[in-house]
């Protein structure tokens, strides 16, 4: 318990002195002893870097900016898209097509004109991460892919900055604080990334719109606690959030003494090629280029000519409800056990949303002895773009 002798008036750094306007703005913080004037000045002196201004980055940046974090950096190179708006609440419909950095900057300055916002219009890479991280106290990871997750972790360990971590998929999320002085890092938990393609991304698997809100606010909470030096941080714990069951569970995390990044005999002493590490070097080409294919224009001609073709839709039933080409529906995962429903003597055109799953289906069917099976290049999205522009895209 704090005693009177513990309470020393602290000399605020000149730049962290609060103006009367700021004192009024942060009133609800200042009247709590856990924050108070000292805490609010710590917030003002703090420099937090958000990686990404997307789903997690939106609530993170909005709450950190509103709370009075003095310097907020944001790294992003993306442009606002219609499909972002269901969850990336810092961006509005009018922002579609704008740079996420510009869109985010407008909202953050409107919420808090005292904020020193620093925007970095770049992809975070091994070439720029260390230099960037050195200018900040805490890194909040709101990225969406494995190479950047490992890059952020290693750069945090190398620069000694805490990594406030959050990650989401469909109805579930994870949060923790990695790379504190005593605590474990992301590699202590996951020494290696999954092989490419085995774990679907949000773009492939979907995500409930509120989920980045839940997890991003947990990240913002942990960031603020680290700055204030109050409470029990998530360092050493992995919080699992299941929105469907509305269950919050926590697992113990330990610092792995053999961790290649933060262990005693560490082998990672500089940043590496993270695309290569995650096995996705050379896979940037969309899958499906190597299977026999047909264009949407040629499919249209065949359908108009009433040619004897069989359109196979390998998407999921809930996708079929959004839009379809009246094809025969067998989800790609069910194909092995339902292959007997198909007639190998007919010409089969397989399609999915964008052409990736149907390429897998064509490969599978060809290996199973089907000779006249083709992939619809670009999937139903290409059909909606070039043949039937009234068709919804998703």
């Amino acid at each position: 318990m704090a005693t009177l002798s513990d309470v020393k008036p602290t000399e605020a750094k000149p730049e962290a002195v609060l103006s009367n306007d700021e004192i009024l703005r942060y009133s609800r913080h200042l009247i709590m002893p856990e924050v108070g004037m000292e805490g609010q000045q710590k917030l003002k002196a703090a420099k937090v870097l958000c990686i990404g201004a997307g789903g997690l980055g939106s609530p993170l940046a909005l709450y950190l900016g509103a709370a009075g974090v003095g310097t907020l950096g944001i790294v992003d190179f993306d442009v606002v898209d219609y499909t972002n708006l269901q969850r990336q609440i810092i961006h509005t419909t009018d922002d579609v097509g704008r740079k996420k950095l510009d869109s985010a900057a407008d909202k953050l300055k409107a919420i808090n004109p005292f904020l020193n916002l620093r925007t970095f219009d770049t992809k975070l890479t091994s070439a720029n991460a260390l230099e960037l991280f050195r200018e900040f106290d805490i890194i909040a990871d709101g990225t969406d892919n494995f190479p950047t997750r490992y890059l952020v972790n290693d750069a945090c360990v190398l620069t000694g900055k805490p990594n406030v971590y959050g990650s989401i998929f469909r109805f579930e999320g994870q949060a923790s604080v990695f790379a504190t002085e005593e605590g474990p890092c992301y590699r202590c938990l996951y020494p290696e990334p999954p092989p490419p393609g085995l774990v679907p991304s949000c773009a492939e698997g979907g995500v409930l719109g509120i989920l980045p809100g839940l997890i991003g606010v947990i990240q913002a909470t942990e960031t603020i606690k680290l700055i204030l030096g109050v409470g029990d941080s998530l360092a050493g714990r992995l919080l699992l959030v299941d929105a469907l069951g509305m269950k919050f569970r926590e697992l113990k995390l330990r610092k792995n003494p053999d961790c290649p990044a933060c262990g005693k005999n560490r082998t990672i002493t500089k940043l590496i090629d993270y695309e290569e590490f995650c096995g996705i070097r050379g896979q940037e080409e969309p899958a499906g280029n190597d299977v026999p294919a047909i264009s949407v224009e040629d499919l249209k001609k065949k359908l108009d000519a009433k040619a004897d073709i069989f359109v196979l839709d390998v998407r999921e039933p809930h996708e079929y409800q959004i839009c379809n080409l009246k094809g025969y529906l067998i989800p790609v995962g069910d194909l092995p056990k339902r292959v007997n429903e198909l007639d190998s003597s007919r010409e089969i055109i397989a399609h999915c949303r964008s052409g990736v799953r149907s390429a897998k289906a064509v490969n599978f069917l060809r290996r199973s002895g089907f000779k006249k099976v083709y992939n619809l290049t670009g999937g139903i999205l290409a059909w909606a773009d070039r043949i039937d522009t009234t068709m919804p895209k998703y």
Partner: protein, 91 residues
Amino acid sequence: MPQIQIPSPLRQYAGKQASVNVPAASVGEALKNLVAQHPDLKRHLYTDEGKLRAFVNVYVNDEDMRYLQKEATALNDGDTISIVPSIAGGC
């Protein structure tokens, strides 16, 4: 009977179930029984050499099995095994 919690990315390979009860005296046995019941899960949990994949973490209650007796960790009735694969989504 110990219960295995299936995370959502893997539920599609486990009959869409969120949890599966398996009779087992150890973690290794529980996972073997799980993939016997749901063979589609196998390639997601094990390498071709039959080792558990490095990006799949297995917890017994709130403790990482790597810091217990790994797959030999004994199970009691009512223990919960959690499979915690890495997810990267953030956008």
